[in-house]
């Protein structure tokens, strides 16, 4: 009997790449790059969640930075207010899930332009509430967020001594998120989501509970963002209102679009690469313009994403 094809090879390759990158950077005494790679990992988690929602289920969200901020700010407020220290990240994730659930029920009834506009409005509301509420630090944000202790001496923090372990924590979570997402899109639910993307009426006619599936993937996608927000708040030791801005939401959409929409690996690659470059300041003053331009260029010339474009080239030659 032939052994079943081993599906985990790309995942092992990714894990290997993560280890090799760390080893090489540490050997070259350039491990300050690990800080940005860690942040890029957390942002990539948001992009993966949005990829499930937008790429597979076909539901656009122009307010994902809002979910990121809800997770981050909840964790920030709880951990600076003297609550039990383990509570902050679970509370951040739970708050994000709850808001996504409550917002999702009415908003996901909308389609197309209406859904885009409603989620845009949601993101805007979150960012305005942050800017107007003194508990949330208004324009200054919240700083002095303590480390988040995990098991066995591990902690999510930006302290230099713990840089390497934080790099591994972040990429391990991304890897887990990726595995969950890959399995989800291959499952019955994943097929249902793609059916909804293709044609909601037809999906409903084939017995798929459209509303429930859309809501479930919306909440899951928000949980990815909220978890990333909460963890990054602990890693950075602070969070500011910029994280909730419209520009951030657009950026996540740009990453998913450039990755090829329904392409988790593409999203991961583009997101890790571009976010790292952006965090290193490679785009200088034109950081936001680069993402806006990328969005327009991809959607005009290669709606199937960067990798789709390469594949098309290959076929043509």
């Amino acid at each position: 009997m032939m052994p079943a094809r081993f599906r985990g090879a790309p995942l092992l390759a990714l894990a290997g790449l993560v280890v090799v990158a760390q080893a090489a950077l540490s050997a070259l005494k350039a491990d300050f790059y690990l800080t940005q790679l860690t942040m890029a990992a957390w942002y990539t988690l948001v992009a993966l969640g949005l990829c499930l929602l937008m790429g597979y289920a076909g539901q656009v969200s122009m307010g994902h930075a809002g979910f990121f901020a809800i997770g981050g700010y909840t964790a920030a407020v709880i951990s600076t207010a003297g609550a039990p220290p383990w509570l902050s990240i679970p509370a951040g994730v739970a708050a994000t899930a709850a808001v996504a659930f409550l917002v999702g029920i009415p908003v996901l009834r909308l389609r197309g332009h209406y859904l885009a506009m409603a989620t845009l409005a949601f993101g805007f509301i979150v960012s305005r509430i942050i800017l107007g509420t003194s508990l949330l630090g208004q324009a200054d944000g919240i700083s002095d967020i303590p480390a988040y202790g995990l098991v066995a001496g591990l902690a999510i923090t930006g302290r230099r001594a713990l840089r390497v372990q934080n790099y591994y924590i972040a990429w391990a979570v991304v890897l887990l998120g990726l595995i969950l997402a890959l399995n989800l899109v291959r499952s019955r639910t994943g097929r249902a989501l793609r059916a909804i993307h293709g044609d909601e009426e037809a999906a409903a006619a084939s017995g798929i509970n459209v509303a429930r599936h859309k809501l479930a993937v919306f909440v899951l996608s928000a949980v990815y963002a909220g978890l990333a927000g909460a963890c990054l708040a602990h890693f950075n030791g602070g969070i500011g209102p910029g994280e909730a801005g419209i520009m951030k939401s657009v950026r996540y959409v740009a990453l998913v679009a450039a990755g090829g929409m329904a392409n988790l690996w593409g999203t991961l690659t583009v997101s890790a690469g571009l976010t790292f470059l952006s965090l290193r300041g490679a785009f200088g003053l034109f950081d936001d313009a680069v993402f806006g331009g990328l969005l327009v260029a991809i959607m005009l010339f290669a709606p199937e994403g960067v990798f789709g474009l390469l594949r098309r080239r290959e076929k043509a030659s």
């Binding site: 389609r111 197309g112 332009h113 506009m117 305005r128």
Partner: protein
Amino acid sequence: MSAAQLLQYLLSGVATGSIYAIVGIGFTIIYNSTGIINFAQGEFLMLGGMIAVSLQAFLPLTAAIAGAVVVTGLVGVAVQLVFLSWLKKPGVLRMIIITIGLSILMREAALHVWDEKVHALPPWSGDETSSLAVLGARISPQVAWVLAVSALMVAALTLFFRFTLTGKAMRACASNPAAARLCGIRAPWLVSLSFFLAAAMGALAGCVVSPLTQTQYDMGTSLAVKGFTCAVLGGLGNVSAAVGAGILVGVLESASISVLPLAYKDVVALTIMLAILLLRPQGLFAGMTRKRGPLGRVGGA
């Protein structure tokens, strides 16, 4: 609250509301000729205001405003010709993302051409301290200008669509593109014209409101969301309903300032908008509106 104070809130609410209505009408014009919701609509107001502020440094105010309106209109046409005209049957999701990307590019361009500071045109008549007395309330003359200019734009547009050949041709294209083409109407030119109209109207609105609310490079998004809701309430076609919706939202928004901190002004307005979008997505006059609704098929996604 005294009656005079109430009137003051009411008038300033009506003024901001009519600006939302103009944005909403801009959405409607482009939507009817192309089926595209142009998420960069709010940026036209920003561009109009910014260009007028710059021109005003060496031109009289009237000429600066006229220049800003024409230049912004041409930017609208350029956007349509360069980015949108050659796409064959683009899906809704694709168009949303392209126009959002364009709005970011315009905003970033403004940030680099001008800066992140708040700019403002001088009041069109009198100065910052002058005021008009209306039934005991004191309002800035600029509020009167906003009302007059908006009313004029709406009236001119209504007459244009109803009585001129070009306006009728645009309506024909909106209701049945194929039949319009068979009658010899040249649709591509009209699409460019609709972008010019939407952008120029936006620019004029941006100029008239600049002395009151100032102009900043990132003002476009909230205007777009508010204007879109007005357009939706008007069933994406009914100009007077869009105006009514705009005024309603403007008044509620300005009333909210007396109850809640100023920082939450947009939160209140956008929450009302979301509620409207969710409760009456088919518009105020459901029976009369077109079929392309938010809950029905929007075609390709």
